[in-house]
């Protein structure tokens, strides 16, 4: 709560925007700026520095995410075997139980599951991160562009955007993969484009909200150009909610790409990826042999996304709105 006092009043609108529909939580978080004794001649002219002190759950999230990022970067160096190596070439039988030399056992083609998880981390996280960055680059540029352009441009862009938003994302993904086949660049572009629609709407709403604020009017009255207004007035005020939303979007993109891979339409074998590992090892469940080959990749995805969610939840709780409600 005390963080609110350090924010200039102009950012007070953000929790409403972040939270979406009004509800009980927000009334709890609403604090009139005067109660904390903000004195207006002390207002900073630069955006406030984010002061984020994670709570216990926030720390848990940070540790897990840091762990997976480390695996994503160094996994291929640390992995005991290559992603398609057979640890026991003389001893061929699928879905071997954990044993010495293969702590998580072997998969449907007798490959080491631990090594494949380590190789898959980089691919799953890398693709999702690249796609989210692309969604943000497109969505923010177009969204803020729509907000500062005239109502006609805005109308056309928003209508087109709404048409894409009204489709289930997995259907859009299926149509694209059916049309152009599946490869890693296609996956990144597809997920990037699909989630750019959501980012567009958020960035546009934020831009619109900020555009009508007094300090923007003042800048306009001073005769500042459009570029100045975007970079010096709108961006500093829209950055914080957008950065928090980035984490949330990353979760969705990881789930989307893993689901496509799980359906056999994402990362293609023999490349290791968490979603496709779940798919290729489903036989282990169906014949009741072992659950580890499916549980290990599924648990990897779940720990990663839940940990990101913990961080997002913690950041947004401290920023005043509960962003994670939008999940």
């Amino acid at each position: 709560m005390s963080n609110d006092a350090t924010l200039p009043p102009s950012t007070g609108a953000h929790p409403d925007l972040i939270g979406g529909l009004p509800d009980g939580e927000q009334t709890e978080h609403f604090v009139a700026p005067f109660e904390h004794g903000v004195s207006f001649d002390e207002l900073p002219d630069a955006p406030p520095k984010a002061r984020f002190r994670p709570s216990l759950t926030g720390w848990i999230g940070i540790v897990i995410v840091a762990f997976w990022i480390a695996i994503a970067v160094f996994g291929p160096l640390l992995a005991p075997y290559g992603e398609n190596d057979l640890p026991f070439p003389d001893d061929y039988s699928e879905f071997q139980a954990p044993r010495e030399g293969a702590p998580l056992g072997t998969d449907v083609e007798d490959r080491d599951i631990l090594s494949r998880i380590m190789y898959g981390a980089g691919r799953t996280i890398g693709i999702a991160f690249a796609a989210t960055v692309m969604a943000y680059a497109l969505g923010v540029v177009l969204g803020i562009g729509a907000a500062v352009s005239g109502p006609k441009v805005d109308m056309v862009m928003s209508r087109i955007n709404d048409a894409f938003l009204s489709l289930p994302t997995i259907m859009l993904g299926l149509v694209v993969v059916a049309a152009v086949g599946s490869s890693i660049p296609v996956l990144i572009a597809t997920a990037g484009l699909i989630y750019a629609t959501v980012v567009f709407r958020l960035a546009r709403a934020l831009g619109m909200e900020i555009m009508v604020m007094d300090f923007v009017e003042a800048a306009r009255a001073r005769g500042e150009g459009r570029w100045w207004i975007i970079t010096r007035e709108i961006w500093p005020n829209a950055a914080m909610p957008l950065i928090t939303d980035f984490g949330l979007r990353l979760i969705y993109v990881i789930l989307f790409i893993s689901s496509l891979s799980f359906l056999g339409l994402g990362v293609q074998p023999p490349q290791a990826d968490w979603g496709s590992m779940v798919r290729e090892n489903l036989g282990a469940l169906q014949y009741g042999q072992s659950i580890i080959p499916v549980l290990a990749p599924a648990l990897s995805i779940a720990t990663l996304t839940v940990a990101i969610n913990l961080i997002v939840d913690d950041v947004s709780a401290q920023a005043g709105g509960r962003l994670s409600k939008r999940l």
Binding site: S166, L167, L172, A178, S259, F262, L282, A298
Partner: protein, 316 residues
């Protein structure tokens, strides 16, 4: 009110048209000639020309689109490229499983999650409330196949209560036998929608609970249960219907994953096969059906929000 609903229906209709354009032309950018792919070895020049004429591929795109759309509206989805069977026949063999699983999920999952969410709102901050919130916050960010794997771990591996595959026919089965037949897919989807429904119905009730007239009722000494069910719930119904419709729309995605996970035939596995065999006629037809379902449910969600909230009906 009627005007607003008509307006929303109009927007819905435009959306459906836009969706049909996206699906139709999205599948048209297929590289390679469909006739060549389909005919394979037999792709002589006459054969290809005859095939293109039969499918109407020689006509301009907009004519093909209008023809496809009017056929779709009359219930003719065309003939599968991969298996040469009318798509409607393929659907007829499989639609029951998809409808049964999503229907039963809605029937069981929705009321149970709503009860959990509302009772959590009755005792905010209690251990019960915190456990429910923690579980739903954790599950909401996890993929469907993780929830499915946990259920398999518990019921198949630990308790040995059955198989991780749905096998056998549904013919002649009663209500409870069907639930038993599809127990794991229904449980998975119920957990997935529950994680959202619990949070959102709890928030909807708590939101109403913070309004002045509830405070008045508390001060009058009305018992808590009566306040929730007689005073608060009636005003929370609109937002709750909205949330339920949104989550049922979400089942469109979830059902695809569980059908593949538990390996039983349904519409979702059909469309995945269509993508793998590049059967674009199948993708267009089924894609339209899935997207229509989704758009209609979103429409219901919006209308419920309008109907329940006078402030949305009379925007400033």
């Amino acid at each position: 009110m009627t005007g607003l609903i008509l307006r929303r229906l109009g927007i819905g209709l435009v959306t459906v048209l836009a969706v049909s354009v996206i699906i139709f032309f999205g599948t048209k950018i297929l590289p390679g000639d469909v006739a060549q792919i389909r005919l394979g070895q037999a792709a002589t020049e006459e054969n290809v020309a005859a095939f293109r004429e039969r499918l109407g591929l020689d006509r301009p795109y907009w004519q093909q689109y209008l023809g496809w759309l009017s056929n779709f509206l009359r219930g003719d989805l065309g003939i599968s490229l991969a298996s040469d069977v009318p798509i409607t026949n393929l659907i007829a063999d499989r639609y029951q499983n998809t409808i049964i699983v999503s229907g039963l999920t809605a029937l069981i999952g929705v009321p149970v999650s709503l009860m959990l969410g509302i009772t959590a709102a009755m005792f905010p901050g209690s251990l019960y409330d915190r456990v429910l919130t923690f579980v739903s916050v954790s599950l909401v960010a996890a993929p469907e196949f993780f929830t499915a794997t946990l259920l398999v771990l518990l019921f198949v591996f630990a308790l040995d209560l059955g198989n991780a595959v749905v096998v056998g026919s549904t013919e002649g089965k009663g209500f409870f036998e069907l639930i038993a037949h599809f127990a794991l897919p229904i449980a998975t989807l119920s957990f997935v929608i529950a994680s959202q429904l619990i949070r959102m119905s709890r928030a909807a009730v708590l939101n109403v609970m913070s309004s002045p007239y509830i405070e008045m009722a508390i001060l009058k000494g009305v018992p808590r249960g009566r306040i929730i069910f007689r005073h608060a719930l009636l005003n929370a119904i609109g937002p709750i219907v909205n949330v339920v419709a949104l989550n049922l729309a979400y089942l469109v995605t979830g059902v695809i994953v569980v059908e593949v996970y538990f390996a039983y035939p349904g519409l979702a596995t059909l469309i995945v096969q269509g993508v793998q065999s590049r059967d674009y006629v199948l993708i267009q037809g089924l894609g339209m059906i899935f997207c229509l379902t989704y758009v209609v449910l979103m429409l219901i969600a919006d209308i419920a929000a309008y109907a329940s909230n006078p402030r949305l009906r009379h925007p400033k």
